[in-house]
Symmetry: C3
């Protein structure tokens, strides 16, 4: 592992570049322009396999040697990639069984990318072979400072394959997990519906069934698939560590993707990266249409922050943005442009959240192939586009800031647990239950009150937090409860917390299972509710609305809010004692904000009045404010605050940075 | 066949129980608690095959012997099941071709239930083998009073298989039906689009075509598939009659399922059962969103009644509810809770509609496997849940009633014909044509006017009815018309009545085909209409709205209502003579109620003013009223009525029972 | 090629007839009734293969000989068809590989029609064989005046097959197009995502990939598929020309279908036909729901005109309607009836747009098989239906008109380019981007201003046009730009014009590519926008709304309209010089009409005030007005105009024809 990044005055700036896609003659000018712009890093090579090895065993290193020499010679640090995200056509011809199989039982064909099955032992060998070749050649190259392994695991639902190789590997995985078929039968509950197995070799993958499989069957398949990704990635980390000592190793995750356990993956990495495309995520995201319309070209104010905080935690404090949206992209249902200023804003916001580097995807828009509507820093003809000029401004503005250490621990932590998300994918219990939206709602409620957060896993250190909020910790480890009790933190849990054991059973003492050690509450009934129905909740003298989920609980704790309306009026909606609160429904944003305000006050965490579309983030004595709204807004800075960038009045798509009184 | 159930003071009460899912040690306490609650019957065994025969030919009867002994010993009557709804894994390994094939051409895999093809001769043999084994062992057991064959035919679209076995059986079925290929060519109209066949062995199943198949091709496939279910079921009835004399044999149907002909199935049974899950059916059902929101936790007031009346008719007067929803379930798009009181209400409503037994699904909520969000009478930890206490109340209330015979014949019958429903599935002529909704609308219109109904088939005895309504008798048997003419009944027919021959042709004399013997009306044109368009109908001085379907008719009969608006204003919408009325459109609920009120008056059937969300049912001198609405309502009882249960003012989710003046 | 049709006093009238579906005994009476009605042409035979050749090599010509004799003997001219749209069952049994394969990888089965793969060499042989047999037998028959080849290429997505035969043919097609694999790699941009090919035999069809294929890969597949249709059709034209000299050869296209290049197809034909089903196209069409409701039974006023103008252009001035909707049909999501009068209206409208013949589909409604809800001129029992009487009226009205030559050239041409439509199908860049709707919007905006249009391809002669509008000429040929410059025409281009090269790359000089030779404008950015967002555009002192697409352009030309609102306010929305205008967005109808009004004025084309639901068309001194709206409207005829049919006040679904002052 490498040492964390030293103190910085702003994010390192980088860019994604594809020398194999451009005539060699333009490389030197490109490199020079990058350096002139203030970029210091360049990622290359993640889709270069067929250019490196155009035929089996025949390597063409020359172009890549020269590309690295040109870039490095210009002063750029190279982030080299292993090219395993896109095996060449000839490899598919040789070994057709490396292709993944979809849930529909059909082979997913060559012609795009990510066309491999993680369970293919042949592909594991080939991936190791090409990674070794690349690592040997460039591992000790002076210009190479870091490695990206593969690219965006999980893009286009590529974690889950239903191939014969996956079936064989799944059986082995189950045998290792359970030891005996009897243990599996007990865990899966095969006495239900006569599903009993006599041996592991009878087990199939959970696709194309008449009806849904045992949730434990499906849960194990999700866990298995996640483990396959982690193992695939680990093999490459070992190769890189052997051949390229001292370089950071990373992988680039995607917006709140929970198809595999990113923490397990990141345990083998030095730094975690993510790819930031806020506007497509607005289109496909959680907000109601009126909010989407207001924020069309600025995006959900909390999507970037959530991911920055999530991946910073996953990376144990070290986080990069490997691909930052520079303008309109090509893959969403609609692809609007960022408002002018947003590339700069997102860049500074990433830094405020502890990001060490922001790299833009991509240098020059490609005039051919799949992503030709994906903009770059330059237009296809080399003209500077929006991102070019905004990044130049960021590069210049860095001089105005003092150096800052990695962002420190927040007072509030939000728990996001990958196995719990698997569990909700397995048993959503409603067509409209979207955990990613609900967790982001919780995050947003706190952020609109000016609070900084860490996003942690239940296994992470809890020391120092005043408040821990867990919107959906479905599978609650006993150890987490123990450590929570030992910490000084207060905690707020959402509905469905502790509602499943690790085997996907209802806990013997009913939900919230182990949490009952800390609070006297028991969930007797869970309801999922249609979007056209609203529940009402009385919180003090306020009436809130809630949606989608309602639990009936009994409690010996204090009842802090109650349900109103026709059904079981007066039943507890929010209960608590001096350490733990449990929320038995999903309040709509305004109500959730009211509950969070009370919870912050209870936990002794300072909060601001509702910030609307403004977001505030603090880092080591600096305070950053970002205006995602359409109208100018005033920074909630103390009188006499010293503004280093911007001023109190912040325009739409603009920002301000000031020194808090230290 | 068995004698009908003796007079009762209320429904027999039962429960579904799974000894194979619980430690043997808890059985005695469970049985004792059931008895204490007032339950007298327990259904077991329908998913127990792999527990009974864990390996090919090795039987483990011990546990089941003991379970029956424990339950019976406690005083419970056992409804034993044949376990053919879920063949064991080892059987699938031995004979993979027992698996069904979906319309997409893919085998539907093991791992849930109902994974068999009705056309598999191998599976027919195996089903007979296990049924024989179970029947031999328990057929004369004193505790066993009845049998359920298999479970919920048709769940998850399992009537229709596209396997090689189905194709072979379909060819045989067609050869038997048509005799010569020429007859088939004529019936299917293969002169259209050059579809002529030279022999039966050229015929394929009607999936994965370029365009839709001949409607007669598809109709024959639906008939064939239905016949396969009936034959599959009949084989088991024969085994049970041989080995278990004197016991009732039943099968449990599902909410208004029309994938197979339930009357043909029930002809081999002693009593018909159905599984009652009103709240999921509300979510997926016919009502507009505002009504769904108002009735969220009480359900469509007519869904239970419709099914009670339907299955009572299918069972020739004998009907059970084998599975009654006890609380929230797990399978709907959303799964809300029943309002407190509804389990009791549904139970009494079933009794009012002639149900002999209500069994609850299930005793204790399972903390594992697919249905762990499906509640039971007890929580997973054994705590009583809603249904437990409400059933106890029902058990006690029975003493307040006099014994009653099976519910007698109503004055009004609604015709539901399975082949006609196949015909509408084959040729809906609109994406928004939903026969199940339309028939329920007709039923509801009559029920809101306080009318009791029977639901009959066109082959049933018509004697004694004052009014027969047929919302969608598309294929109208000549014999039905003859018997209708001979009966004293007046009749109201809906659009599309008589619009197809048995071969799925337009009748030579145009629709309504044979009905023209009773009324001078001819349909010249049929239109299907989008949901965003409304037709207007003038009925006397009232303007009604109609939707989705409009016919242009000529008639020599009286014109009772006309279309208004731009298109063919003044054209007949409702026509009639002294015996038969024909309605040429689908009025919206309010208008349909107006038409039904006039029709009842014409037929001499007494009606009440609109009951709103209240429903009234009479049985042998007792009158039952059920309040499905959110507000209290007054029972329309005569002054001086003697209330046996409840009183004139009926709360939401509550009921009243009074003695009418005999 | 044949000479164009002589001057006419109205459309020739015809009907589609299926002697093979009716008893021979009714043919003579049918023929006599057709003649009595004023029909002179009858199309037969397009689905008769299995009746002609019921077994391999055994021909049954007798019935067809007699049918032609009966029809011809009654005075009808026969349009004979080759029956290749529906190969017989026995042919499928012999050669199963003639069946097409869907994008899901599954064979599309026999049982309907169009069940063949255009790339099957076996089917090409068999189609040539049966076409030769039919052509030999009837090619010189005196009653046969024309031929239809096959039927509705592309119905039910049958252009695109994913069979092994298609894969093999695609590889050959690519080898012929590119010569070397290196040229293909360059065109497809396979340096992106490591997609490089080593040889043509590695290339697969672009279905079932993990993610979308290279757009050039997909574009080539669409071009290839189109070419296969053209080649398939050409083979039959050669056979017919050899055996049936002097007869017109045609094929019947479908509503604005752009799955294959109709101009390339029509180059081998004498006359182009299309099948007119306006009401189903209303249901599935472009209009907002309120407009659809208003026009429910009259249809989109511009759908018939657009297709008439399109296919007239495709047919180089000669166009027929081979199938005209006579009443409700069977295939749309809903199937409403045409208002009384609409069959007559559509018939006269076709004539006004230059149509030589209107044939109705079909003579008598079939009481069996797939289309039994599709009405005809007669009901199944022979009773005349709506179309019968309206056609009789048209036949009589023809005497009121003078003979007219083929419709002459309009002053305004709209460019519709098939390869450009392929390009937009390949890279829509938005889920809500529907080129067919947008082009129809442009057409409608001009038609509501009373303008007549031609619809042309970019290769067509441009002489004589005052204005050329091109809503979506994505791939702009250099030659077109040259000829446009040489013509005297002014031109208006829509967004995305010139945005792709023939290889589906962004042009080196950025969009609009070659158009920059005529106007100084460059597109720097394209945005696709969700339906819930509106852009505002300032045009003079009017504020318009625009939707779905917005471009950022730089220009040296005049800025004629600008964007308003938050994003880049003041940016050009419409720019122009004295010859060319470029529109950078998609205005909503009202705004588009304002822009078109200004453009017409600029181009010196006379326009009328907004006609609402009225449509005006001129042909050789006659002026036709058609009222598609629900209310009467006044014809904008000059005072003293001589009305030949109708009068100034035109009822809903009615028309007027007057002599303009010549």
């Amino acid at each position: 592992m490498n040492a964390p990044c030293p103190d910085q005055r702003g994010p390192l700036l980088g860019v994604c570049y594809y020398p194999e896609q451009w005539p060699e003659g333009v490389w030197p000018a490109d490199a020079a322009r990058m350096v002139a712009l203030g970029l210091t890093r360049v990622r290359i090579g993640e889709f270069a396999w067929s250019a490196i090895e155009p035929e089996p065993g025949r390597f063409d290193w020359g172009w890549l040697d020269r590309a690295i020499a040109v870039l490095g010679g210009a002063g750029l640090q190279v982030i080299m990639s292993t090219p395993t995200a896109a095996p060449p056509r000839w490899l598919v011809d040789r070994y057709p069984d490396i292709l993944p199989v979809g849930a529909d039982g059909h082979v997913r064909k060559f012609g795009a990318r990510r066309h491999y099955c993680f369970s293919s032992t042949r592909y594991r060998q080939e991936a190791a072979r090409i990674a070794t070749e690349v690592a040997r050649r460039y591992g000790r190259n002076d210009h190479v400072v870091a490695w990206q392994i593969d690219n965006e695991y999980g893009d286009h639902d590529t974690i889950h394959s239903y191939s014969p190789a996956a079936q064989a590997a799944f059986r082995d995985w189950l045998a290792a997990r359970y030891g005996t078929i009897g243990a599996l039968n007990a865990a899966w509950g095969t006495s239900f519906w006569s599903m009993r197995y006599n041996g592991f070799d009878q087990i199939e993958l959970p696709n194309q069934l008449v009806e849904e499989p045992s949730p434990t069957h499906l849960m194990d398949y999700l866990r298995f698939s996640s483990d396959q990704v982690v193992a695939f990635n680990r093999a490459q980390t070992e190769i890189l560590r052997a051949h390229s000592p001292g370089r950071d190793i990373t992988h680039n995750g995607m917006n709140q993707n929970t198809d595999y356990d990113h923490r397990a993956l990141a345990a083998d990495l030095d730094v975690m990266s993510w790819d930031a495309y806020p506007l497509g995520n607005l289109i496909h995201g959680r907000l109601p249409e009126a909010d989407k319309a207001r924020l069309l070209r600025t995006g959900d104010p909390d999507q970037p922050g959530f991911n920055n905080d999530l991946y910073r935690g996953v990376g144990r404090g070290r986080m990069w943005i490997m691909e930052q949206q520079p303008g309109p992209v090509n893959w969403a249902a609609q692809n609007q442009a960022p408002a002018d200023g947003m590339v700069r804003l997102w860049t500074w916001a990433a830094y405020a959240h502890g990001c060490e580097m922001v790299a833009y995807f991509r240098w020059r828009q490609a005039p051919f192939a799949q992503e030709q509507y994906h903009t770059g820093m330059l237009l296809p003809d080399g003209t500077p586009d929006q991102a070019h000029d905004e990044v130049a401004r960021v590069a210049a503005e860095r001089a105005l800031l003092p150096p800052l250490p990695p962002r420190g621990r927040a007072q509030v932590a939000l728990v996001l647990d990958y196995p719990s998300r698997f569990a909700l994918a397995v048993l959503p219990q409603a067509a409209n239950f979207r955990p990613g939206h609900h967790a982001l709602d919780w995050y947003a409620a706190l952020r609109r009150l000016g609070v900084d957060l860490d996003i942690i896993g239940p296994g992470d250190d809890l020391a120092g937090y005043r408040l821990i909020v867990a919107p959906d910790l479905v599978i609650m480890p006993e150890d987490f409860v123990t450590r929570l009790a030992a910490s000084g933190a207060k905690a707020l849990f959402g509905p469905r917390s502790g509602s499943k054991t690790g085997d996907m059973h209802i806990p013997a003492n009913l939900p919230p299972g182990p949490l009952q050690r800390l609070i006297d509450v028991k969930v007797l009934r869970s309801e999922s509710l249609p979007d056209w129905h609203e529940e009402r909740v009385l919180l003090g003298n306020r009436t809130l609305t809630a949606r989608r989920w309602r639990e009936t609980v009994t409690t010996g704790a204090d009842v802090l809010a109650t349900f109103a309306g026709d059904y079981r009026a007066g039943a507890p909606a929010l209960v608590g004692n001096d350490r733990v609160r449990y929320l038995a429904t999903l309040p709509a944003p305004e109500g959730l904000r009211a509950i969070m305000a009370g919870t912050l006050d209870w936990a002794g965490v300072a909060a601001l009045p509702d910030l609307g579309d403004l977001r505030i983030t603090r880092r080591g004595g600096l305070c950053f404010a970002f205006n995602f709204g359409p109208a100018p807004a005033d920074a909630p800075a103390p009188e006499g605050a010293r503004f280093l960038i911007g001023s109190r009045r912040i325009d739409s798509a603009d920002l301000a940075i000031w020194q808090e009184a230290d």
